[in-house]
């Protein structure tokens, strides 16, 4: 467990609290909690691209949506689908879509990459919106949730809010763990290098295209996991889940939480969903709650302007004042700035700290 940094321990503590939550919480809070965790998986998958690989995808909802539709299309009308078949199928469909689209888009960079990822996502949106394939603009209902059985024994009843909550929690912890390991492995170090200086990486022998495509495909698959769970939870898919609003929402979660730090993505997702609940609550804001997007937007702008490293960065500063993360910034000035702000993620802190102990 030596790879786990302090914010990670913090998150594990939160996870433990969450694991106990179903014992006391109402259905509303269980569903809200599950929604947050699903969006956190989605945000984590996007942060792998934006924060860790320098690939600003503005069409990430496409993969979320493809998996959601995959579940909806596979599920029989009046019976439960098999969880162990539909989950891999949905994730594979999303990863495959990301592999194919990634093959075409990861060659582009900067604003072109943003535009092309968006364009492909909108194409998928159009396919589901304008054809009968996925029920057109009305979408499809998933009347019965998938059944999670092991050896004929029903392990989790996904119709139960508490048990679905646990499923989302397990998924989130698994994704977080996988990404945490991956980013510390040579693959993750290479992605960090690619984000900072792609040309130098190539001249040192890294097949940058393959690395980017690998990251894009993995991110697509993980977004697919989130999409699958979301479709399970809401029992309904429609084209809006792969529209650009959805891509924008997850992008805002990542920025809100602070790019390039895994805990930031989780925090950003939680903050976004909770703020949305808050501002759209008519009990609190009365008639103004209809305009929750306005209040949300204003608050997000303020947060991002005040804390360029997001809420996650803020927590990092509060948490500890040591070391420096290699690789978040690419220019000397900005790197110096973030060195002062000390708001860097922990991953490379660990690297640097261990280097000092490493004998030559």
């Amino acid at each position: 467990m030596t790879h786990l940094s302090l914010p990670t321990w913090l998150l594990l503590g939160v996870a433990l609290l969450l694991a106990l939550l179903p014992l006391g919480a109402t259905t509303f809070y269980l569903q809200l909690g599950a929604k947050i965790m699903i969006m956190a998986i989605f945000a984590l998958s996007l942060d792998l691209l934006i924060g860790h690989s320098g690939l600003v995808s503005f069409g990430h909802a496409a993969y979320f949506g493809v998996a959601a539709y995959a579940l909806a299309l596979i599920t029989p009308k009046y019976e439960a689908a098999n969880f162990w078949l539909t989950l891999p199928a949905a994730v594979a469909a999303a990863a495959l879509a990301a592999l194919v689209i990634g093959f075409l888009v990861v060659r582009t960079a900067g604003i072109y990459f943003i535009m092309v990822t968006l364009a492909f996502a909108q194409m998928l949106y159009a396919i589901f919106h304008d054809t009968k394939l996925g029920g057109g603009s009305d979408g499809i209902y998933i009347n019965v949730r998938p059944e999670l059985t092991v050896a004929g024994f029903k392990v989790l009843n996904l119709e139960s809010p508490a048990q679905f909550f646990y499923l989302a929690l397990i998924a989130l912890i698994t994704v977080y763990w996988i990404l945490n390991r991956l980013l510390h492995a040579p693959f993750g170090r290479a992605l960090a290098g690619i984000r900072v200086n792609e040309q130098r990486m190539r001249s040192m022998g890294f097949p940058v295209f393959s690395y980017k495509l690998g990251a894009f495909t993995l991110a697509g698959g993980l977004a697919g996991l989130a999409g699958y769970l979301a479709a399970c939870q809401f029992g309904f898919v429609n084209p809006e889940i792969l529209a650009w609003h959805q891509s924008g929402t997850v992008l805002m979660m990542v920025i809100l939480g602070g790019m390039g730090r895994l805990h930031g993505a989780v925090i950003g997702a939680a903050a976004y969903v909770l703020l949305q609940e808050l501002f759209s609550s008519s009990a609190l804001f009365g008639g103004y709650s209809k305009h929750w997007q306005l209040s949300m937007g204003t608050l997000i702008v303020i947060i991002v302007l005040a804390f360029p490293h997001g809420i996650g960065g803020l927590i990092d500063v509060a948490w500890r004042r040591r070391g420096y993360h290699g690789g978040e910034e690419d220019s000397p000035q900005s790197a110096q700035r973030s060195q002062r702000s000390d708001a860097e993620d922990s991953e490379s802190d660990d690297l640097t700290a261990k280097d000092a102990k490493n004998p030559k």
Binding site: P186, R189, R200, R202, M204, G326, P332, L351, K360
Partner: protein, 252 residues
């Protein structure tokens, strides 16, 4: 004399109407440093970019170890054993010096997809990175961010990154640019040492260094090869004196 490790024949690069490199041929051997000199805009950096794969040639052949590598991408050429430095320092400023080298060494790792194993647990990567820093005398800065190194140290780091990939052929683009006298002297000694067991193509404006290090010299002017030969031959060459040496610093 050993066989040439690199043979370049009739290599050309056109940018629109401009022939930045115009039918240049040369050879590089292990143990015999080959220097390319020429005035600004002569096409020296373009030549290195062609050899490293950053640019693709308009015409001509690049033979490395008997194989035409002209169509290979930069990363493929690097994996074959060609490493380059850049005229304008090109490193990872926000990484530590050690991390810069470790990344370079990691490029030789055969199973980069092994995601469960932390990068730090690869002893071979770490020790190669330390060796490379040791070779350029930067060990004491290993854990400092690259952006906090002095200009000269950053140039040294760039060489260390080249070495961490364990290359056979080094393409060095003005490694002495912007260095102080003392730093230059150290870098010259380092290159001399590396030259024993590496093939080196050195582009450099510092004539003292060039005549100190090179066994073979090629003079480029306006993309063309003006003259090629031993330092003595080049020094005695009238054309070279008129075109280049006469107007630049006099060689000692």
């Amino acid at each position: 004399m050993t066989d040439p490790i690199l043979q370049v024949s009739e290599l050309s690069k056109h940018f629109g109407g401009l022939a930045a490199v115009d039918r240049v041929s040369l050879e590089v051997r292990t143990g015999a440093l080959h220097a390319v000199i020429g005035p600004n805009g002569a096409g020296k950096s373009t030549l290195i970019n062609l050899l490293s794969g950053e640019l693709s040639a308009s015409a001509g052949h690049i033979i490395f170890h008997g194989r035409d590598i002209g169509a290979l991408a930069p990363e493929r050429r690097s994996l074959l054993g060609i490493s380059r430095s850049f005229q304008k320092t090109n490193i990872f400023p926000s990484f530590t010096a050690l991390e810069n080298c470790r990344l370079a060494a990691q490029s030789r790792e055969p199973r980069p997809w092994h995601w469960l194993r932390g990068a730090l647990s690869y002893q071979s990567i770490t020790s190669k990175a330390h060796q490379a820093l040791e070779a350029v005398d930067l060990s004491d800065r290993a854990n400092d961010l690259a952006l906090t190194l002095s200009h000269g140290e950053q140039r040294q780091l760039e060489i260390a990154m080249c070495l961490a990939t364990e290359p056979q052929l080094l393409l060095l683009d003005e490694p002495l640019a912007g260095m102080g006298t003392e730093e230059s002297q150290r870098m010259i000694q380092l290159i001399a040492k590396l030259s024993d067991n590496h093939a080196i193509l050195l582009v450099e404006h510092d004539m003292d260094a060039v005549f100190q290090l090179a066994q073979t010299l090629t003079v480029m002017v306006d993309g063309r090869l003006l003259a090629s030969g031993t330092p003595e031959q080049i020094r005695a060459n009238r054309q070279v004196q008129v075109a280049y040496l006469g107007e630049a610093e006099q060689p000692t």
